[in-house]
């Protein structure tokens, strides 16, 4: 019995230690986030969405604290409903709304990462669970996995370049899970293609969007109307 109590105490201490480490890492990250008030950058997007064929496109991205975000481009493009570029820094800055805990350690790109789980304290939060792979040596989020109530799970891989000091990645690959796309043959009016595929049903497929950033401009006091003006077509 004593042994069991001793084991539980040790585990509890370890857990407290992990919680502390998570907070420490978040603090380190937040330091970088707080340096950033706004940014703009050139954007190059690559889409690999099942059932959707589209060319890569160029655009410009704008961000302003706390959560103003906009991609200005000419034409149609897709972004996940749970936009990681818009929300993650807010989640980290708002330390009171989430419980954070390190659930383990993993190597990503030969870098030792702590896996920080973020669980919202309030049940009405859209987020169910946020998992962040944070580089321990130089606190940067290398990977995220966000599970929400309505929009499923989105995985993000971040690759860093010049803007490490602001924790801004130069490349983000967003992976989403979605139902297989299927347009009824009658609607597509396609007599040439054979519809040999079985009905889509709930068959899940993975899609990805790659965002490449360059020519960052940091803290240039971007006016608010940039986020409200209409897109040119």
């Amino acid at each position: 019995m004593k042994k069991i109590l001793l084991l539980l105490l040790c585990l509890g201490c370890l857990n407290l230690k992990a919680d502390d480490n998570a907070k420490k890492l978040i603090r380190e990250l937040n330091k970088k986030f707080t340096l950033l008030n706004d940014y703009s950058a050139d954007l190059y997007m690559k889409f690999n969405i099942p059932g959707v064929k589209m060319n890569n496109m160029r655009g410009k991205v704008f961000f302003k604290k706390p959560n103003k975000f906009r991609i200005r481009t000419k034409g149609i493009f897709f972004l996940p409903k749970q936009n990681p570029m818009q929300n993650i820094s807010n989640m980290f800055l708002d330390t009171t709304a989430y419980t954070t805990v390190i659930s383990g350690y993993e190597m990503i790109d030969n870098r030792n990462c702590a896996v920080i789980n973020m669980i919202p304290l309030k049940s009405d939060n859209e987020l169910i669970l946020g998992k962040f792979w944070v580089d321990i040596a130089n606190p940067l989020i290398l990977k995220t996995q966000i599970t929400t109530k309505n929009n499923g799970t989105i995985e993000t891989r971040n690759f860093f370049g010049d803007m490490i000091q602001y924790a801004l990645p130069s490349k983000i690959i967003i992976e989403v899970e979605m139902n297989k796309m299927k347009v009824p043959k009658m609607m597509a009016m396609d007599l040439k293609k054979k519809s040999t595929d079985k009905p889509a049903g709930n068959q899940k497929e993975k899609g990805s969007i790659e965002l490449n950033f360059s020519s960052f401009k940091i803290n240039t006091k971007i006016p608010d109307q940039v986020f409200t003006e209409k897109d040119e077509q």
């Binding site: 059932g51 000419k74 149609i76 409903k81 989403v176 609607m187």
Partner: protein, 282 residues
């Protein structure tokens, strides 16, 4: 050549003076306006039927409901109705004159029967072209004015293809050319039947019956139909859509154009051969 131009001129004059010619123009304008109004009010709901799986995961950014998409939908919808409008005029070209007796008026001029049938065929193609140009103006130009210009989200059998707006003009050009080729087959078929039949209505009804039967064959994925499907002109009537795929299936498009052209040449040859030997008994 001068005599041929004179005959062609006559055929065009008659086509443009006939009241039924304007039925086609009226129908195109009416259908386009009706669908444009419907999309103006309920377009987003209609579109959500196609994009519902995407909408679950993504925010689709940009103006999807633009003039290019409306044109795509209109062309896809009207390619089914337009053969009727084309047949209404071309299916009557010989049979109507036979029924009314004016064929005697034509065939007692110095023009040869070959020239007469060629002039009628060209006049039918000209009418088809005018019909398509009107559709182009209504579907593309007017839709762009109402809904704006933007990337095209083309709906194919199992994919949505997003084509950038600056990459669309040449595709529309070729799409309308292929649509013209498709309707050229309909015009040629209608004229050929018109040579064989001596009343106005039967060739028109026959053309529509043939299109309906061939389209139904095309709809079913049955092994016995697979052999004939590639050679049915209806299979290739929607080949213009291939221009909005990525990558463009160039070989498929060439094959479709070849099949359509072969149909036109064959049908025209049959009509010339038969018409040259036809006894005018009415």
């Amino acid at each position: 050549m001068k005599s041929f131009i004179a005959i062609l001129n006559n055929e065009l004059y008659k086509t443009m003076k006939r009241p039924r010619t304007y039925i086609g123009f009226g129908v195109i304008i009416f259908i386009c306006a009706m669908l444009q109004a419907a999309f103006y009010h309920d377009g987003k709901e209609i579109l959500s039927f196609v994009t519902q799986q995407l909408d679950m995961v993504f925010n689709v950014q940009g103006n999807i409901l633009n003039g290019n998409l409306i044109c795509f939908i209109l062309l896809q919808t009207l390619i089914v109705q337009m053969p009727l409008l084309v047949a209404l005029v071309t299916g009557d070209s010989v049979s109507g004159e036979t029924a009314s007796g004016t064929i005697r008026f034509l065939l007692t001029t110095p023009a040869s029967r070959t020239k007469i049938i060629l002039a009628k065929w060209l006049s039918g193609l000209f009418y088809t072209l005018v019909l398509l140009i009107l559709l182009g103006i209504m579907a593309l130009v007017v839709s762009r004015l109402i809904f704006g210009v933007g990337d095209l989200m083309a709906v194919n059998s199992d994919t949505l293809t997003i084509i950038r707006s600056d990459d669309l003009t040449w595709r529309w050009g070729y799409a309308f050319l292929i649509a013209f080729l498709s309707l050229g087959v309909v015009a040629s078929l209608a004229q050929t039947l018109s040579c064989f039949i001596d009343n106005s209505i039967t060739p028109i009804v026959s053309v529509m019956a043939i299109i309906i039967i061939f389209t139904i064959i095309g709809m079913f994925d049955l092994p016995s139909f697979d052999l004939i499907k590639p050679f049915l002109f209806t299979t290739h009537m929607i080949s213009w859509k291939s221009l909005f795929e990525d990558p463009i299936p160039v070989k498929e498009i060439y094959f479709s154009c070849a099949v359509l052209l072969a149909h036109i040449i064959l049908l025209l040859s049959i009509s010339i051969y038969y018409f040259k030997r036809k006894d005018i008994l009415t």
